[in-house]
């Protein structure tokens, strides 16, 4: 084989590979990005139904309830403006507490958010940034309304 055509094949192979990789990454992004919404956005119907997304906020005081099986938990997550009821089956993270920040991932089903994953904050002072963001947004909205 001539050096020139060999080179052409190597370069061609490389370019084809690059395109394949880019296509792969794009389609993976398309299908697997998890968007984040605040409780206010969810109650305004801005969150997708039937698709996985995340909600951040604070666990409403006094909202944690366990069902008889012990492993199904109901609680509410709030950004201080709106409240979204959540159900979750499984063990909760160690730092999950009422009145503290949390992020839940799952889907909306009939007005209830069915969480598949519950993330709590990592240290005792701060909320996960997403939860803090939600509260901040709600404060901002409340402020605009009161004007």
């Amino acid at each position: 084989m001539k050096a020139r055509s060999k080179r052409l094949m190597l370069v061609g192979g490389g370019v084809a590979l690059l395109f394949a990789a880019v296509a792969l990454v794009l389609s993976a992004f398309q299908q697997n990005l998890v968007f984040f919404h605040t409780p206010t956005e969810v109650s305004e119907g801005k969150a997708p139904t039937g698709k996985t997304f995340r909600i951040g906020g604070m666990v409403e005081d006094g909202s944690i309830q366990r069902e008889a099986d012990g492993v199904t938990v109901r609680f509410a997550i709030t950004d201080t403006a709106r409240v979204i009821p959540v159900t979750y089956k499984g063990t909760l993270p160690d730092l999950f507490k009422e009145g503290k920040g949390a992020v839940v991932q799952g889907r909306l089903e009939g007005g209830v958010f069915r969480a598949t994953e519950v993330l709590a904050k990592h240290d005792e002072n701060y909320m996960p940034p997403e939860a803090a963001h939600a509260v901040e947004q709600a404060q901002k909205a409340a402020q605009t309304l009161s004007q």
């Binding site: 005792e124 002072n125 963001h133 509260v135 901040e136 402020q143």
Partner: protein, 197 residues
Amino acid sequence: MKAKFLVPLLLFFGLAGFLAFGLTLNPREVPSPLIDKPAPNFRLARLDQPEQTFALEEMRGQVWLLNVWASWCVACRQEHPVLVRMAAQKLVPVVGLNYKEVRGDGAISTRGMALEAETTMAIERARRWLADHGNPYLLSVLDIDGRVGIDFGVYGVPETFLIDREGRIRYKHIGPITPESLQTQIMPKVEELRRAG
């Protein structure tokens, strides 16, 4: 030098640009929606004399700081010496908002605890902490359930609000006050507000 050999360098600079931009997006520095708005009014029990209350409007006519703290907060311990030094130099009056003293502490379960019991415990803990570390506050008030904190948009401790003579929030400092932030951010704003009359 052939142009194609510069490609890695250019790619890297693009990435570095994004990272630099990312640095400016410090999630802690979200501007508070309350800036330049009247501070939410409150009336809360005082830590030193729980039978008496303190209300925001009592500070009217002064430029002052509202510092949110709790004995369980690690970072408060970090900023506390700065506050103590500030108080010794009488730079600016600081009112402490003791935030969720008991229920904020991960080690204590308040489930089934009566509010009075919680208050007693909060007073005891907060006083002991101030006795141990010094009390830089003009006075502190007790926000047992964190309601006032929520009104102020507090999402972590410590936070500090700068409030002007008319009772408007002019600046919000998130995280511990360092000698540097005091000198470069807080005090210049205090001076400015004082001059503004």
